[in-house]
Assembly symmetry: D2
Homo-oligomer: 121 residues x 4
């Protein structure tokens, strides 16, 4: 089901986006400011699918094939703009994620945060 | 500079997130509804860095090391929630991106859209 | 409790914002593009208060005085940017709301939508 | 042009929304969590109008009557959800704005912030 994520590197998708943008000479539109707006707009479109349903209902939202396709599409849009932003700023995303998760492991030690979001709960 | 994106698959990062969430038993909080909100919130925090500057100025925003680190961090946050959402919904992100770009190639043919966003410009 | 909303016109608050911006000569920053970003950023900060709790829990979120103050503050921020945007574009907000609600009354007739969001539910 | 804002109180519009929601028995959907998502979604739709243009261009975006209508519509949507949220939480918006502006006057004294966003610029 999720075979492609297993074999696709982040750079492969970054290259795909870079090529798509370069072919259309859209780099002039792709300032970080504009791309950050685009990313937020797509994130809001993704939210729309879960706007009026409960958290539990949202876990089943992708069971319907049509809804699943639309949700996948919105997630792809978010990702495409994020890759374009990484291309524009020359930021290595995997390094950013590894760093962030490493710091979050220290910030949220397992023994204090198991099953809760605040240490004092 | 961007070596790690060249060697890291999407699934490697998805697994990293899945492990981080499972260790803390945070799956109960990770409904698609909640994750889509989190993603939109992080996207807004990314936008904050470019809020009051022009598009041209935003191209230089990541030149400052401290700003660069903060921007990388926000991008990592967006990505982490996107990976968690993909995990929760079992959606293959690479397939979603390949599909989307393939359709966008048809929707925005190079000859009609070179240097512009609307075919009639 | 809600006395002030009963006696305050939208224009009174628009004037307050116009004065605040003019005194600081911030009009140059207040392009519609920038203001729309600011509004979205504040909307996301408002969402943060309800990010990890259920819909039912969110109905009680403002019972705590400190949380109530923070939520009020975020709502004020959204409103301030909306008033600044109305000032910049010279758009009458009350007219916009009256128009919108009038059209929504036609779009969502009571008999078809009572207790549901889709006519076919 | 902006006559209606001069004569319309915030409570008048809050009542309009309360009536619209009550007639359709939509209160059950109007948790603060859901309304904050809706507000953020509409804010993103407002941003879409300024997504690919510069700040200066965005100052002229509402000159076109059709675009002006669409922008007014999105602003009305933001406002309607904000009024519904104020109704649900029983928060007085005018008080919130007066408080916020009063504190911002102290935070951003005119002499230090005239023409700039940071005191040290």
């Amino acid at each position: 089901m999720t075979d492609t994520d297993t074999t696709t590197t982040l750079m492969a998708l970054r290259h795909l986006m870079a090529e798509f943008v370069a072919e259309r000479e859209w780099g002039k539109y792709h300032s970080p400011k504009n791309l950050s707006m685009s990313l937020a707009i797509e994130a809001a479109e993704l939210m729309e699918h879960f706007q009026w349903i409960s958290g539990d209902e949202s876990r089943l939202a992708a069971a319907d094939p049509e809804a699943r396709q639309q949700i996948s599409d919105e997630m792809a849009d978010v990702l495409c703009y994020l890759f374009s932003l990484a291309n524009t700023l020359d930021i290595d995303l995997a390094t950013a994620v590894f760093d962030k998760v490493r710091r979050n492991r220290l910030k949220y030690p397992i023994e204090s945060f198991r099953g809760k979001f605040r240490a004092d709960q």
